[in-house]
């Protein structure tokens, strides 16, 4: 009983962000990919996450699709140059991204990665 109450109290006092992060961590756990927050830059990596935003941004006069995804530990952006949309990549989907990351203005950015839509 005390345990249940403690759990309930923890749930109630958690911030929305923490709950969201926990949900994402749970949703992506089965993929066994390393957390975004711990991923190294400048070396080939696999990242997974839930798509949270799609944005078409002009880069040097041509459109680029920026796909923001999060796994609860952090966020990363996959940039697809010359694309305005990618079939099947929509908000809420789980994707696995295979590429080389770098830090750009404090964000983890992967340029033109290979991607897999998990569900």
């Amino acid at each position: 009983m005390v345990g249940v109450l403690k759990n309930l109290r923890r749930k109630l006092s958690q911030s929305l962000e923490d709950i969201e992060d926990e949900r994402l961590t749970g949703r992506l756990a089965d993929l066994g990919v390393q957390p975004i927050a711990e991923a190294p830059t400048r070396t080939p990596i696999l990242l997974a996450g839930e798509v949270q935003g799609l944005q078409v941004v002009p880069r040097a006069g041509s459109p680029s699709l920026e796909v923001t995804f999060s796994d609860g530990s952090g966020r990363a952006v996959a940039v697809f140059t010359g694309r305005k949309r990618l079939g099947g990549v929509d908000c809420g989907r789980r994707i696995v991204v295979d590429g080389v990351g770098r830090t750009e203005r404090g964000r983890m950015v992967v340029l033109n990665p290979a991607y897999t839509i998990v569900e």
């Binding site: 880069r59 040097a60 080389v100």
Partner: protein
């Protein structure tokens, strides 16, 4: 800094020599094995590491340690190769700074972020700009572009009948998106202030956006003046 130079021709070799002298760690990637053997036998330039590999192939390019490089310079004599090398450096190795050589000025429009190029250098454009600078009084010469063309450093030599002659910078009223960064008068550099008075014969260096350029020309050189070459 660790610098990987793709292309071991004259340009690549000279750059390597300069960078080694400046204390950097330099690797040259050259596709022609004979050229590499020749350079290694001659031992020139001293202190440079040569690798016989094709920079357009990811696996071969990786042998040069591109994943640890701070800068990649694509300076082969072939624009297509330079673009491929730049894109690979950015996409496969996330190199922080990629510099590429433009051989044919007609291809310069492609040397941008889309192809992974941070900075492009076009020798023909640089040469025309320098030639024009020597012969032009009363026109604006573009010396350098920054930020993918969003800002330019230009130079104007004031003719005696320039509308700016005898005015100070504050009353000149240059557009908001431009600023005078230096004035060269009789071989001396004058750091501009609001009360600096311009004279005929002054070389005025202006940092400006493309949109503000026409106003800058009108203010410094008068309405009839011309603008010249991109660089």
């Amino acid at each position: 800094m660790r610098v990987v130079i793709a292309g071991g021709g004259n340009v690549g070799t000279f750059i390597a020599e300069d960078l080694v002298k400046a204390g950097h760690d330099v690797v040259i990637v050259e596709v022609d094995a004979d050229r590499v053997a020749e350079a290694l036998a001659a031992g020139e330039p001293a202190g440079v590491q040569w690798i016989a590999a094709d920079g357009c192939e990811v696996s071969e390019f990786a042998r040069a340690g591109v994943d640890k490089a701070d800068v990649v310079a694509a300076v082969t004599g072939d624009d297509e190769d330079n673009l491929v090398i730049s894109l690979l450096a950015k996409q496969e190795f996330a190199v922080p700074r990629v510099v590429a050589r433009v051989n044919n000025p007609k291809n310069e429009w492609m040397f941008n972020e889309m192809w992974g190029v941070d900075v492009s250098v076009s020798t023909p454009h640089l040469l025309t700009a320098l030639v024009e600078e020597a012969v032009s009084v009363g026109s604006l010469v573009r010396l350098l572009s920054f930020e993918g063309g969003r800002a330019r450093l230009s130079e104007a030599t004031l003719a005696p009948d320039s509308p700016a002659n005898g005015k100070d910078l504050a009353e000149l009223g240059l557009p908001r998106d431009s600023t005078v960064v230096a004035i060269i008068r009789d071989d001396h550099v004058i750091v501009p202030r609001g009360d600096t008075v311009l004279r005929g014969g002054d070389e005025v260096l202006v940092l400006t956006t493309p949109d503000a350029e026409d106003d800058v020309v009108a203010t410094l050189l008068g309405a009839r003046a011309t603008r010249t070459t991109e660089s």
